[in-house]
Amino acid sequence: MSKFKKKKGGDLPAISTASLPDIVFMLLFFFMVATTMRETTLMVENKLPAADQVEKLDKKDLVMYIYAGKPSQRFQSQYGTESKIQLNDKFADVSEIAAFISAERASKREELVPFLTTALKVDKDANMGIVSDIKQELRKVNALKINYTTRKGDAVSGSK
């Protein structure tokens, strides 16, 4: 019977962790490829609405971003809960959009200026007043190409 006798005091063989770095590197490369560096810190809530007729925005360098929505939790004591516009890294007034657009235009090569697109990243709970104000302001400075940034999804069930 000694054949089947359990070995006493036999150490469990250690699990080899030699492939751990490989796994982690794989994850690392995935994230490096699939994500982009954060350029602005969001100060507003930004849950995008869903739509299914979306087109992709190519040429990232020719896009100007305007964010709008309710200030995030940590800014609410200071700025309240009314929807606000965010340009670059700070809250802005509607009247500052014109200056923002001309600053963006000045930073691009002249021949590329007509191809600039303004991407509106607006929270889905924002009301239309603020969006129309932005649009009106963009029309004044002749920045007519806009893109309402949305998630991909079903628009009908997504709302209400």
Binding site: T36, A51, K56, L57, R139, Y148, T150
Partner: protein, 212 residues
């Protein structure tokens, strides 16, 4: 001197270094959403433009009020409409083809109701929203209107260029893809333009009204 093998470098901390890098990238980057609905704003007209007379039957007038209800006024009657019915209603309106004589629409496949739109070129969709309406609702309405136009454009594109085996939306996506070769782009551009001229997006947005 006796040949000695090089001492092995301890790779035990490699995982730690990789984890550190991984966490750094997780924190500082975001998965960007870079798709959306492309629209063009109308230019701001300085001088007063003269009023254009449009027949009532050619207007598909949508209104969103502050409670996010959608009203549709077309052919003289106004009614409340559900968002899910909007796409079908818009397609029926655009595709109606009620025109006669020089306004006749040879590609329309609708009911040819004389009380609805004449042809693709004459049909206008207008959207007015209240300042207190939700952005979410507005995007949904925009999406449904775009979907209606895309549906018709797909149909006409497939009919006009059956050899291509693509819909309008797919062709447009292929056209804007930077990997597509220049010669294919030229071919596609012409075809896309033809369809765009046949079914123009006449979608006007009135300035929002203030709610009292």
């Amino acid at each position: 001197m006796a040949k000695r093998s090089a001492p092995e470098v301890n790779a035990g901390s490699m995982a730690d270094i990789a984890f550190l890098l991984l966490i750094f990238f997780l924190v500082t980057t975001t998965i960007e959403t870079d798709s959306g609905l492309n629209r063009k704003l109308p230019p701001l007209e300085e001088n007063e433009q003269q009023d254009v007379i449009i027949k009532e039957k050619n207007i598909f007038q949508l209104t969103v009020n502050k409670n996010n209800d959608l009203f549709l006024k077309t052919g003289g009657e106004e009614k409340l409409i559900e968002l899910k019915d909007l796409r079908v209603a818009a397609v029926n309106f655009l595709d109606n083809g009620g025109g006669t004589g020089k306004d006749a629409c040879k590609n329309c496949q609708g009911k040819r109701n004389p009380k609805s739109s004449d042809n693709f070129d004459k049909a206008i969709i207008s959207l007015q929203n209240d300042r207190l309406a939700k952005y979410d609702m507005y995007i949904s309405v925009q999406n449904e209107i775009l979907a209606a136009y895309n549906q018709l454009r797909d149909r006409e594109f497939k009919k006009a260029y059956p050899g291509l085996d693509m819909s309008f939306v797919e062709a447009d996506k292929r056209y804007s893809d930077p990997r597509t070769s220049a010669s294919e782009k030229d071919q596609l551009k012409e075809k896309l333009e033809n369809i765009k001229v046949m079914i123009p997006q006449k979608f006007s947005e009135a300035e929002p009204k203030k709610s009292n």
